[in-house]
Amino acid sequence: MRLIRLLQSSIVAAAVLLLLTSYLAFYYAPLPTMNVRTANSLASQLEGQKLEVVGFAFNITDAGDRQDLNLADLMDYQRWIDFKEGRTGPHWWTVNPLMVRWSIDVGSPHAPMVDGQNITAQGIASGGGPTIWNSLTCPESGVEKLTDVVSIGTFSAPVAQKIFYFHMPAAWTSYLAFGATLAGSALYLWKEEERYDRMAGYSAEIGLVFGTIAIVTGPIWAKEEWGVYWSWGDLKLVATLVLWVAFVGYLALRNAVPDKEKRARLSAVYGIAAFLTVPASLLGQRLLPSAHPTVIATSTGGLSIEAGITVVVAVLAFTCLYVALLAFRYILAEGEEKLEELKRRIGGEI
């Protein structure tokens, strides 16, 4: 009874909040844009400093015929030459730690380019249109400058960014659910009580649903914004995918062990191992300086207050949905057990 009440209240809350999220995402949260004045003032502060450019775009059509843009070492040289000699049309160039990409026109297929992780902005020139950064070269960077630079990032497909209000909460909820699996697994091994095993198992199933939503919505946005569906150099993406695969394995394992107690024990150990490796890897990669791009801050850096509110509502909505699904799964399990019991009784009488 308590479960049914929980299900009712959480599903209503989730529905209301999801509707609200949709409204806020499309009518309240502004499109992510670059404010040219902000960009210029930030840029003049940053001029000459060594810093890591996390993401920005500039439109070379507005560069006029400036020939001093020294981009060749960042980009596919031949494509740069093609542009300079007028064989291709206007380009958008985006530089971020994930990739440098190019396109013939906004919205057309882009291709990942050289890893632009350590790029220093040395000079800046602003034309009539968006700010143009020129002379981009490498070296060491001050990480505290990251957010500044992120905030002047532009989006080449601003409308596509709306999917973020569903993508990020789904990803967050999947982490929450897998975290609950971890907690349930550890508690089961400690206390050996069946309810913890249930929590772990059910939570993993639901986490996989949310993880799938995140993994599907991410590439839809990435295709528009980055020009590719997937960036294999991005640790966050790869970690989420690996976590997802590990939990598919977790559920496969649960299906492959019929005995209840044994299933609980085996899957508890794997649940811990599966969840621990991925965050541990992420943490390790951040702590150790390495060749991997370590900071991925493209989507949250420049959030406006309105967008922030929308994200909070969306996260609440998805969390309510998680609670609702979990309650529903428990109710389902009760039904399953009753069915088992009935089957056993019939079997006994025959």
């Binding site: 091994l189 790869v238 970690a239 690996v242 976590l243 695969v245 590990a246 598919v248 394995g249 977790y250 496969a252 394992l253 492959a256 062990v257 019929p258 044994k262 024990r265 085996l266 508890a268 150990v269 794997y270 811990i272 191992a273 599966a274 621990l276 490796t277 991925v278 541990a280 890897s281 390790g284 990669q285 150790l288 300086p289 390495s290 060749a291």
Partner: protein, 225 residues
Amino acid sequence: MRTLTLARKDLIVEFRSKQLASLMLLFSLVVILAFRFALEPMLGAESGSLPNLAAAVIWISYSFAAMMGMYASFQNERENDALDGLRLCPVEGGTVFLGKSLANLMVVFVVDVATLVFFIIFFNYDLGGHVVEMLLLTLLGSSTLVLIGTLVSGIAATAEASEIVLPVLFIPLVVFSVIIPAVNATRSILSNDVSGAFNQVAFIAGAAILFTALGYLTYDYLLEG
């Protein structure tokens, strides 16, 4: 001490039959050959100095070899109901885990060295004087693969269709802890940038410690059957 006894037991069984190691040697030979055939159009005559390719081929082969070894070693325990005997031993699960890992490591390391040799021969690859570094990296990588493999095979051994469940459980755990850092480290070493591999090596070692702790603490539950 008990760890060593258990490892010795596994190795004696292995030496008497020689089945596992010889099959695994054959397996790694076949894997390397398969890579060679598949990559032939790409490589042509000069397979020489492609550190990226070498790193990928070597570590995928190592992972496969470890996976095979794990499966086979638990198969032995199952077939003769030896697992029951192991359970009756007056040792903790953690000790069994360490013993098994040690024995498995011996076999897998030998096979991995052989794989490396096969690779050098069939890909006509020149390690460029980094033989010792490569062997050390192989040892470290194999250790982590084996630690994870021993844990996972303990989980999968008694499941239905365990031969399919094992790789499904094994691969996600080794992607971050071994394959990515080891491939990067190998690439650095083969590109004559040995110091560039240190971080990656530290990372693999950290994973080894993590999984040793996890296996040591949880193997009791897996042996309960």
